[in-house]
Symmetry: C2
Subunit: 206 residues, 2 copies
């Protein structure tokens, strides 16, 4: 039975992170969110001690950052901006995580990075603005004078990041295998994504 | 247990009609497609004999077209274009079908017409262009010199119809509870939509 690499992109306040985490629990597969990916990339890419230990030209799969650094780039940043550099490292972290097997990855354009992986099931989670504002206030504890504007700014940042690095358009249904509104409820969204993952994994997919 | 009114919008050649029909079969609920809705509307709205029998001012729920005609509109068309008139009748047909109970309705902006119905689960089905072109040729038997352009023209017509009558934008993920790519396979798409409908109906929804 095939199993899926589920990538989750989401609007701010849609509950997408919780949904992704719960889907992973239900399917018994690892869960990685954007913070973890960023942390792994930063730790791996910028720790001088680790570089010293592994050697600059280590081709090891788990030492993605250094294989990248080892590809003859002149200088650590190679003329790239910090954002481009972090992108490249995170790109490799995500490919590395996917290589390990089925998992759920939230954020970081993972859907785009893994676009050629036949195991990928890409999901976008959204919700009506009023529900996202409520969630930001009540569940995330965000304290902002204009919460609606704050929520929309977070979306804008995510869209910019996506539209800069990926070729498609963030939030456009055609970019994803599955788009789910958490307006149907967190539990219903989880059940829907889980069903899709199992159906695809069960060989009913194209 | 609540049950759903599932509305299905779809890109041309995505298999959305087949998917909607199969979901209805699996859930044991009626299935209505745009042709049926159009036929019902035309038959009901323009058959003089039926009008004579029911009376112009009949307020009966099943005689939606005539209740509409009976609302003091001066003349059959009331100054509307034929498209507007047909829209209004189909609008009432769809509300009437939804009032009868759980069902699947494909096309005709049913998602927008039923936007305030809490039982509504709105679905958009799409697929990569090459798969839609193949389906148009092999399954629908479309014979056109430029099949790709033909498929895109059908989408354009559906989008225009939707964007004219509805307030949202056709195919934009935020407009729907669920968007599914049939690239995952017809069976997997059916399983996904069925799971969403059952999860929502089971009271796991918000």
């Amino acid at each position: 039975m095939k199993k899926s690499i589920i990538t989750v992109s989401r609007e701010f306040g849609s509950g997408g992170r919780t949904i992704g985490k719960t889907v992973a629990q239900r399917l018994g597969i690892p869960y990685y969110d954007k913070e973890l990916v960023k942390q792994v990339a930063l730790e791996s890419g910028f720790d001088p001690k680790y570089i010293e230990e592994q050697g600059e030209f280590s081709p090891g799969k788990t030492h993605f950052a250094f294989s990248f650094l080892g590809r003859g780039v002149p200088g650590v940043m190679g003329g790239m901006t910090a954002a481009d550099f972090l992108w490249t490292i995170q790109h490799n972290v995500i490919r590395d995580l996917a290589d390990k097997g089925p998992c759920v990855i939230v954020g970081r354009c993972a859907d785009y990075i893994l676009r050629d992986d036949p195991r990928r099931l890409s999901v976008f989670v959204h919700a009506p603005l009023d529900e996202r504002v409520r969630r930001a206030r009540e569940e995330y504890g965000v304290q902002e004078p204009n919460l609606e504007s704050f929520v929309l700014r977070q979306d804008k940042a995510r869209a910019s990041y996506y539209n800069y690095f990926a070729t498609g358009k963030w939030g456009q249904s055609r970019e994803y295998d599955l788009c789910v509104s958490s307006h149907m409820g967190i539990a219903a969204a989880v059940a829907t994504i889980k069903a899709a993952a199992l159906a695809v994994a069960g060989g009913t997919g194209a």
